[in-house]
Symmetry: C2
Subunit: 392 residues, 2 copies
């Protein structure tokens, strides 16, 4: 192609733009072994990660701040140089994805080097500490076919507003214009949003890999918001999306996509609060779901040590009493998948054992080794859960 020159109005306008680009970050030289985190905006060198040692270096330009600290599993003071640049290099971090913030004179702000990841109800910074080849299952694989994540808005009469959803369809969807597919409804955690699974969770890469290898059947995955926005001046993060799901979302999906609509072909799972939402929705609609998963969030039986005043669930009364008659439940539900990171505590295992001991047959317990209440735990859970569903 012949090189040509052009001048665009944009350059002038950009130079007047109110917000500044990262200050010369692209010219910085990183220490040996460090690379820009995969979670950075694409011009940002920092934060930088050493994939061998799993150390990360953070960098903030704040010449006039009195104190700057990193909030990431605790508060870590950053050190200022004579140009007003604050840096901090971490001890080895756990692999996977971590939200973090920068405390500028105690005010938590987003690190401008990072992409935005919606968590804790704000657009948070995040950093990925890379795994080795064992993490390939959630990475882009150029040698297999790729599905699509589709962004749609559907009208909800229950909510009285349009609602945004993301829908994964498998690579083969467009090639089989009459074929129908089973549907997994997959919910994010508290403080996150409907983009979490496709952004922080890399769910499309995980699904593509499972389907391409034949481990999972091709399926549609619907990712709704677990919160309820309203038009009023006061907005609420509600814990119950069952009505929206049953009355608006499922009918919309079955109308818009080529789906099987019987319960054998409908599953629901969620992480953290999304796990609780799954248990609520499914236990009230056993005629509509035959597979369920709670990733680091599932029904719990017995008192809550962290909240002694919370109502106590029992096998007899909890969750509409669906577990009480184990034999009847076993006929209704093909899978109750309970998953947890080993650093999260014993509650999920206790739930599993309570159900197992009570005679619930189709309950499966999955542990993510060495991970906490974080996205790597949930990527692993999804990767283990999906091959188990929609199989006769």
């Amino acid at each position: 192609m012949k090189k040509i020159s052009f001048v665009i109005v944009a350059l002038m306008a950009w130079s007047m733009a109110s917000a500044q680009a990262p200050r010369g970050q692209q010219e910085l030289i990183l220490p040996d072994g460090f690379k820009p985190a995969s979670t950075n905006t694409f011009l940002s060198q920092y934060p930088a990660v050493n994939s061998q040692t799993r150390e990360a270096t953070f960098r903030v330009v704040a010449p006039h701040a009195q104190s700057v600290a990193l909030q990431l599993g605790g508060k870590h003071s950053m050190k200022k140089d004579d140009k007003g640049v604050w840096t901090y290099t971490s001890k080895p971090l756990v692999v996977g994805f971590h939200y973090y913030s920068i405390l500028v004179d105690s005010m938590p702000v987003m690190d401008r080097g990072s992409q935005a990841f919606f968590g804790s109800n704000w657009q948070s910074a995040g950093i990925e500490i890379p795994e080795g080849p064992e993490g390939d299952y959630y990475r882009f694989n150029k040698n297999i076919a790729h599905g699509e994540v589709r962004s749609l808005y559907h009208w909800s009469d229950v909510n009285g507003l349009e609602r945004h959803i993301n829908v994964y369809v498998p690579a083969e969807y467009e090639k089989n214009p009459t074929k129908k597919y089973p549907v997994l409804y997959l919910v994010h955690g508290f403080g996150e949003d409907e983009n979490g699974w496709s952004t922080q969770g890399h769910m499309a890469n995980i699904m593509d890999g499972l389907i391409a290898s034949g481990k999972a059947v091709p399926m549609i995955v619907v990712m709704p918001s677990g919160d309820i926005k309203t038009n009023s001046d006061v907005r609420k993060a509600s814990g119950d999306i069952t009505q929206i799901l049953i009355k608006d979302l499922i009918p919309y999906i079955d109308k818009t996509f080529r789906t099987y609509t019987d319960k054998q072909n409908r599953a629901m799972a969620g992480l953290s609060r999304g796990g609780g939402q799954t248990w609520t929705a499914v236990s009230n609609n056993l005629d509509k779901f035959a597979w369920m998963g709670g990733f680091s969030g599932s029904g719990r039986f017995g008192a809550n040590p962290n909240n002694p005043n919370a109502p106590v669930n029992t096998i007899e009364t909890g969750f509409n009493g669906i577990f009480k008659d184990a034999e009847a439940f076993n006929k209704q539900m093909n899978l109750v998948f309970i998953s947890i990171g080993t650093e999260e505590g014993p509650q999920a295992k206790q739930t599993y054992e309570t159900l197992k001991n009570h005679g619930i047959k189709n309950v499966v317990y999955h542990e993510s080794q060495g991970t906490a209440h974080e996205w790597l735990t949930w990527r692993r859970a999804l990767n283990d859960f999906v091959p188990r569903i929609f199989k006769k």
Copy 2:
């Protein structure tokens, strides 16, 4: 539905989360006439906008900061109360979408009340000052059929990496499994990314409305990144994506979607730098495009007053000399669409007049009244451009 109680592991984990939610924002009472901006995260009351007066109030909690200011078309000092809350109420703002930042002791940070909008190469805060009913064309309309924005990654041999794109398909796409569609390639501006058109631009609502009303023919719209990411430690915001477009993206789209592949059914447009990229790509590939648009960014002829050292374009030599033989060009190109906001300066009109006077017939000039180098200008440009393309 019977109310049930459940306890989830998540609540404990959430309370330990490193980043905090907006501090009690949902309990704030807004002044009369003010509502949370539509661009806020959904629990945030601030920034708040008075749609009648077009004033906006900004609020930042920073008890330990020495100074806090709003950067939005200039720097505006915010005022601190005795609880360390800083506020500022603007004069009437121009309608449309504005990027802004908060300066905390001179350090630009993102306002945590805002959603993230990628602009100026970082995840920026933004605020929408609403239009009246004249803005309905870019709002969700529950009474018409809705297309989808599909998120895909395609492998690029030119780039040596996977590249993320968004692809709009019209509502009818799935209902006509053998029908083919024309394709518009639509590029964002400098410092923005491939999500800009569907997020800041509300392009799906605009397209849905134009197609539902019969003003535009159903079409596919491909929104690529205008930047080139690399695997190396040094990353570049390149101004030329022509090779990726021609060698990787167009073949991928024509393989993946049901498209017409002749030049009469392929258009390209872009805003700001994306306009420049359009002129570069199209002028080097007149056999592949028959329609082109530059929104606040197009080829310019004559010296650049803001950059006297820039090479000068002339009709004879600029853009591969494609305009030199006006008659030949008129046969090649069905539309050269040039658009600008009235507050942006005279350059686009000069380009239009230069081409018109030279005998270029299919050139169209569009002005957005009272708007500057901002997304409202580009929504209006898209809304005017799209009905003109792919018509015989």
